[in-house]
Subunit: 492 residues, 2 copies
């Protein structure tokens, strides 16, 4: 009974995913109001079905079974994880859940317009509405450190605001110092026209080697790249072809990392609440692995740089591999998070984490956000924000009520290096494989050791299983950045 009910709820969640993908990739703009209603209805139906007393009674009756099974067995995990979700969801009135979904869909629509016209004022009411609903949501829960913790928990289960603050407190000064001392690298050759068609063909060539099964995924262009999946065999990656840069390569590899995760979940977990990653931080760790640890590495480009030069001979014919690698690994403060390099990236996140806490705690009025944003960017990255489109309006998340989401990006950076150490141990000749353009063993290792687990274990349990230590440790990440930046040419 439970499996069947949960399968229904999983189907409804996946269906909402299809609606959201379509909304961002294919829907004509006229469809927004009806789509918001459809998403609200799906959310209501799924929530009502899930928080039903019957499910609670069934979960209770399954305790003896759960205790008789291995902790990481499918069934024990399903009962345990479902119970936690059920207890959380039960606290939230259906109407609030529906209102949040509707406000998110409408807020997203307003944001698109506001960002395009650089008009924070038109976005402000939608933001206030989303924040107000988030505050009511927070009130459904208990917390001991910050009202931000219940929001964080939706994306990074079991993680407290204070724990994130501790990790960020460790990395912030080191990153700031690394950025300050990073050599200046000439990357102007990356800022010339690259035909979108050539980028797309090159991205698809790389994607073909990543070990995703044919006929189980798509790559589509969109404004704000993301990845979603409707089963392990229906993975939707999106990317953006910027006509004056090659960002699409790393954006595609980034989303391919998310895609790999979705694709690698054990088939036995399909149509359950376990058919996802344990947390967004862990999920992000894998997009960062493919984007950065693979996609900015010398071994990878020893194979791929020649094909890239052949695709763009005019632009790259005279640029040697070392120059290219220095440019794509440089540290250079900028305005836009999604264009940020590996070193500055987490500083963008720290700003958002701090502003989100202030918004939720009430110490920052949303109308003062642009000012606080500018001050934070000056402080953290030393850059001046020219307008809101390149500032507080740049990200989609707040428009759709995604408060508590940002920290998982930086946690993903941190976790990616913890797991990478385990990968290195598991595949000693990984560099040689990458030099040969072979990524299949890497993909298989990650699938077998991580992705296939789905959400059976907690984030920390999962990290512990791979690394031996169930904790988030920023040291490998900081060491990686230090080493990377030290290896750059210093002909500034």
């Amino acid at each position: 009974m439970l499996r069947e009910r949960l399968a229904e709820i999983s189907d409804l969640a996946r269906t909402a995913g299809v609606l959201a993908w379509d909304q961002k990739v294919t829907m004509p703009p006229g469809g927004h109001p009806a789509r918001a209603e459809a998403l609200a209805t799906l959310s209501r139906v799924a929530h009502e079905k899930f928080v039903d007393d019957e499910i609670g009674r069934t979960l209770e009756s399954l305790r003896p079974l759960e205790e008789s099974l291995e902790h990481d067995s499918d069934d024990a995990s399903l009962i345990r994880v479902t119970r936690r979700d059920w207890e959380k969801q039960r606290r939230v009135p259906t109407e609030l859940r529906v209102e949040m979904t509707r406000a998110a869909a409408l807020g997203n629509q307003v944001w698109i317009e506001a960002r395009a016209t650089n008009d924070f004022g038109t976005f402000l009411p939608a933001l206030r509405r989303n924040l107000e609903l988030k505050r009511r949501y927070v009130e459904c829960f208990e917390w001991d450190d910050s009202p931000y913790t219940p929001l964080l928990d939706d994306f990074e289960p079991y993680m407290k605001t204070s724990e994130v603050a501790e990790v960020f407190g460790t990395i912030r000064p080191v990153l700031a110092e690394l950025v300050r001392e990073a050599p200046q690298v000439d990357a102007s050759f990356l800022e010339q026209p690259f035909a979108a068609g050539g980028q797309e063909a090159f991205c698809k060539r790389i994607l073909d080697t990543l070990g995703l099964e044919e006929g189980t995924y798509r790559l589509d262009p969109t404004v704000h790249p993301f990845c979603t999946s409707f089963s392990t065999r229906d993975v939707r990656m999106t990317t953006r072809y910027n006509e004056t840069g090659l960002d699409s390569i790393w954006s595609t590899m980034h989303e391919a990392g998310h895609g790999h995760y979705a694709h690698g979940i054990a088939p036995s977990l399909e149509r359950t609440l376990l058919a996802t990653s344990p947390s967004l931080g862990l999920n992000e760790s894998q997009s960062r692995t493919w984007e950065n640890l693979v996609g900015r590495s010398r071994p990878f480009w020893l194979h791929w740089y020649e094909p890239l030069q052949e695709t763009f001979p005019v632009q790259l014919g005279d640029v040697d591999l070392d120059t290219f690698l220095a440019a794509v690994n440089r540290a250079e403060p900028g305005l836009i998070r999604v264009e940020a390099d590996e070193t500055t990236y987490s500083l963008h996140i720290i700003l958002r984490f701090e502003l989100e806490q202030q918004l939720i705690e009430g110490s920052l009025d949303p109308k003062d956000l642009p000012e606080a944003w500018s001050a934070g960017m000056a402080d953290l990255l030393g850059v001046e924000v020219p307008d809101d489109t390149h500032g507080v309006l740049q990200d989609i998340h707040w428009s759709q009520g995604g408060i508590g989401y940002f920290p998982t990006y930086a946690l993903g950076n941190v976790i990616s290096l913890q797991i990478w150490a385990a990968v290195r141990e598991g595949i000693p000749d990984l560099d040689a494989q990458m030099e040969a353009g072979e990524l299949g063993e890497l993909a298989a290792w990650l699938r077998d050791n991580l992705y296939s687990l789905g959400r059976k274990l907690t984030p920390k349990e999962t990290i512990g299983r791979l690394t031996g230590t169930p904790a988030i440790d920023p040291q490998p990440y900081l060491a990686y950045l230090r080493e990377k930046l030290a290896s750059l040419p210093t002909h500034a």
Copy 2:
């Protein structure tokens, strides 16, 4: 309360529409199994919500209100139409409904493969399964002429099998005679390569003039063109660019006719069961109007032929307008329904109508379908069927359990001419407008007089409102074809 509940059910139906559109237009093949489950779940949830006792009690309590209102008021119509749907749906067990949805999704997948490999045998079990479920479905209803009537009623409400048989009995001998006596026309110039890109650009140019509001629709390529909509402001048309023909033009105008219908429904009917056409026959009458009555007419091409020649100068530079018009208006028996001309088209339908009745009545075993198909094609159209891909496997409908659907295509042809007479009266200078490339008044007239009504009235009431006679009358259709064929050059 009722409005709210029905809005939810409408949202779920529209959501299933998004899933189905995505399945046909964008989904990677790996997604089929999960998609079938998701569609089955949506169907279960929507069905359970709709057949609820509470809705029946509310409908009953609204009888006095209904009787106090004008017959064609939104509210009276909503109560009346919903009651009919509710009474129908109540007869169908949820599990049967769900099984039908699942079998349809899976059958569709099998059919794609079977059609591609010309293998009726692999399709047969899926067809049997769908037919078996349809027979169980029929048993939920009462009928007095044929067990086919309850199936027909799902697509052409209030229409009996015997009524369709009567209409088809009238047109069959006339069509057969017209085809026999039609002049041979050389249309070989249409069977040369036309670049898909040029076709797409030309189709979009025409689409731009049809009066659909910008930002409210899409046109995408697919294998089997169709149109669906998720609100009046989110209309999805699809078409097919055949590299050796110009069919895409008429396919696009055909789907644009469906699109216009969806787009023109009164906004007050959004999120109700009335936000559609009264029947598929009426809906099809409009696709045929735009495809044929507009799209094959001399006035239309007096405007558009020059642009078409400019798009394909090599292929059409030496072909004059008369030759072009003769080719696109000729009657010539062929194997494929969707490629059939106006005169032979309904004969393809009559074959399917007869086979469907036999399958449902049990007088034809599905395994004998290919043979019966060949015999019927020889009899009705005098053509020999070379293989099942060009025969019984050509259409998507049976694969997804769409039995009872086909007759509405021919009814649409018939109805389109009944309504066209009213259009002519309403817009006396229509030909001059078409010659000037102006279709806006035509679109507005049809929207105001037909599309905006949605499903408030029955098919016959709707026809009666436009034409003065609430009946399906094949004579205008036959007169139109006679006149068309008589006007063709007879230099055979």
